[in-house]
Symmetry: D2
């Protein structure tokens, strides 16, 4: 992927070794330098495995909130792949409000994700919590996720920036759009432009939903930044019945990608199960998104869907 | 329109004189009784002039935030009609944060709205602020709007309920979805079921936009209530460049109607001009909404659009 | 009370008939004109009955959230008077989220308040909801309260302004400090400077308390405006165990007055009973406030407390 | 300090080696186990250097937001000591929204803090950002601060828990009281009970102040938890003129300690200078706090104040 190098106070103008030469060199100031839309009006394309995010298509990443065991993960991964996901999400390291909650399978979970990738061919996207883990997680994962609680964990942002891997940067639920763009700068400043901004809801007085998805922020981030924007409807709303309408809204507002919790047995999930879609509901959503994408003059990203492939034979 | 009568503590079971007999009589309790989706699973259709809101179509009401003078209003009304609005919005009485701001043309503004209706054929939707004004405003307007600042002005809600006219009830920017549904009960309890709930953004810490549009609330209100749901993107975001993506999102989330500020000279507007769309941008949005509606399996409400009628000749 | 008259766009420079001549005439602009601290650096004193609010003392107004019946009201009024309240609060007209909740005893409640005043000598402070009621309520009450839900009911503000009675203006729970100051201008612009600003909590994501008391706003309103500031800890927190510490904090931050829910049988209250203090707890709070006031170099306002008067004999 | 050991799912019942035997063993469940008030009704006393926080006294920690250079730090430390601070605050590692802002002097800043300690005798409290730094920072500092942005950086919480040093845990500005208590469990679960909870304002729609200090949370945390509570007025309000009233309010609400930004030349500060108190204003505040403490029946913690010692000679 092309590298932008801006020069100005505090910005290192040398591309990190191993990365291609910069395509542009622009003088910038202020807190928001490298991510500005004007620097790359055509937008940045982020590659996760075989998938391109930010090329105008609509990509869906799906999977369970947490990796729980081999059977659960492979079953969820099959569902994701079957209905046209372009990537598999799944948490091996889980940041939990309480130390007494399930903290994820950790390294064993990462191994299971690698197995699910071999099984389905889908690239894997997983969260990293600790700067000391970045190198080892990056050796396996196709994309690194920074969770909302770590959006301003600047040491961690710097480490994932150095990894060179694609990064999904979730907006902190107490953070503004401008702070999200500034957090992305920590990754970009390491010479890594493979950043996807992810809106996942903010804290407001309205508790009918778990968080309040800031739909305007999706459009705002697209207009201000050249980075692709993802939306996580599942964690925003926390209610399966709202995942579909909110996913549709996100796509219509211009989101490049969606991140959707899918689980084969949500009632048994060890983490955030109650917000996950059942396989059939996920399939139904994918069908509606495909029609919606047509109405928007866009296409769904991803491999030919098995059902369609069958029908074509 | 059919009348639902629920019986239970505090609910008068007799339909107001002049209204048709109830079609249902259901025992209900709690704060949310008459608006519940289960009472009318097919949803309520609200008729404003010739327009039906809530029948599955997507309706757009457009016009200036405030009525300023004859020339301005007629020009804006022409734009609204030309691009396919089904109704004209315009404030004659303006609730302003400061007593030193323009407070609207008041009764003279209402006369101008009536003139604009004669000129374009569009039904007029206008705000009422004072219980003492309801009868006189209702004699002219086709639909009454309750502004966000008055959502819990219960005396006013009762009066507009008695008027029998369609009511657009804007969600208070500090109020929850449940409080909005409870406020609608004040109107419904008067035997007036012609209520449209309107999401127009809530107050949050994010000030990049004027308010934060709660897109999940659109779906939630549709699921919980049988009343149609409108979205006001203009007042939510306060930035013209965000009106289009947010309007698209609202439609995709299931909104029945949109309320859009359009102005022929926003820079000269006496109230909230900076958020209004220019005529061309409004036309462009209407075109995109039409394609989006197709992707959603819905149609745009309204009269045949002039441009299309010309082309068909 | 002295009248400030400012001149400038939109400000009528003539004092309303029956009010004294202005003591100052100042050119002002912007949304915040008549309430600005600079206009009256020494601060405004508001007189409710025999009580002065804003003279440096700390005043407590107490009583039940709603007037329920004669026995309840008189018992609560006795408690308020016994422990040194300088005024009695009690709602005759109650703005309720739901039309199915108790709406107050209305005019009969107002009569009971007048009886409680005769019984205890305390001036009465009560809420008015409807511009059509202002004249009649003002004929009985010593002070009018504008509830949080009506802070931007500008027709009502104008009417209470015209009444000339002292007005307690509660901050809307979704409104900013600046909007509160602008709302006060609607009353001031009628030539009525007897306005007390009341902080009663705002809506935030934190739901451990009913609202979030904005303690900084107390100091900010004192600094920006010459009007006295009251705090309503009871409605802010909604939890009796927090009323004492929050009352202490409000006094320490500079509040001129407190508004406290007291009930002789909170578990039977028809409205917001669960936040009311029991008589003993109210007495304990009053004792602590008296010591706190000494630490602040202030004194508690009000008549000699019965217990002290007994002791002095 | 005594160690509480709770037993239950996920709780290790063995005290970490080197710590004293537990004084209590209680079966607990839920997210909030070790910090519950019932486990230690008398409250926990946290020792930072010679200072006890949580023993009923009111402690003030003061100093510059960031360590900038030797001269600035020593001058600020002198002011803090002179007026009766019991500890020196100062950031060597600064978490900044933007990578282009001053990030602190880092290890050199820590050395300067140690020098300021030698100079004034005050224990030093400083922020740690990275789990990899904890051991080295802990070797110098007397207390570790976890900033609001890292309140849910659970890897970091675990490391500071292991360090055994006193920890000031700042509430995340988007986090609830319950989440703050749950975050403290991460530290407590390592056998380290030396935790001070710090309220420093939350994000709300009100932007007249930088954050909204949640004064009720101070009382709520004291009631729910046995841990001492600190308040940081400076970062909450971001306006020097509000630091005094808000500090007074915090003390009156029951805070055990205050954390106050003081700077000898705020206009030259490299970080958050505009909210720092000038030396004279800090001295004035300390005098008022002393009188307030008397009104509250409490005393100010700390060494004999030089001015007083002089006078006593």
């Amino acid at each position: 992927a092309p590298v932008i190098i801006a020069h100005g106070p505090g910005v290192d103008t040398r591309p990190p070794s191993g990365l291609p030469a910069p395509v542009a060199k622009v003088a910038v100031t202020g807190d928001f330098r490298l991510g500005r839309r004007e620097l790359r009006p055509q937008g940045t394309v982020v590659r996760i495995g075989e998938t391109s995010v930010g090329d105008g298509s609509l990509s869906v990443f799906a999977g369970p909130c947490a990796v729980e065991n081999e059977q659960q993960l492979l079953a969820c991964a099959d569902v994701a792949a079957h209905y046209g996901s372009v990537g598999l999400r799944g948490g091996a390291f889980k940041p939990r409000t309480s130390p007494y909650s399930f903290q994820g399978l950790k390294w064993a979970g990462l191994e299971l994700l690698a197995e699910a990738r071999r099984h389905t061919g889908l690239p894997i996207l997983t969260e990293v919590l600790d700067p000391r883990h970045v190198e080892r997680v990056a050796a396996t994962a196709d994309g690194l996720q920074i969770g909302a609680r770590n959006m301003q964990n600047f040491e961690l942002l710097t480490e994932v920036g150095k990894s060179g891997l694609p990064v999904v940067l979730k907006r902190g639920f107490g953070c503004t759009v401008d702070e999200t763009l500034a957090a992305a700068e920590y990754v970009l400043a390491q010479g890594n432009d493979q950043v996807i901004l992810c809106e996942r809801g903010i804290r407001t007085f309205e508790h009918a939903t778990r968080f309040t998805l800031d739909i305007s922020a999706v459009a705002l981030m697209k207009q201000r930044s050249h980075l692709p924007v993802m939306v996580d409807p599942s964690h925003s709303v926390g209610i399966p019945a709202l995942v579909e309408p909110v996913s549709m809204a996100a796509a219509a507002a211009g989101a490049d990608a969606l991140l959707i919790d899918v689980h084969v047995a949500p009632e048994q999930a060890l983490c955030d199960g109650k917000q996950a879609l059942l396989p059939d509901d996920f399939g139904s959503l994918m069908g509606k998104l495909e029609l919606l994408a047509m109405g928007l003059g866009r296409k769904m990203a991803g491999v030919v869907r098995p059902a369609l492939a069958d029908a074509e034979r």
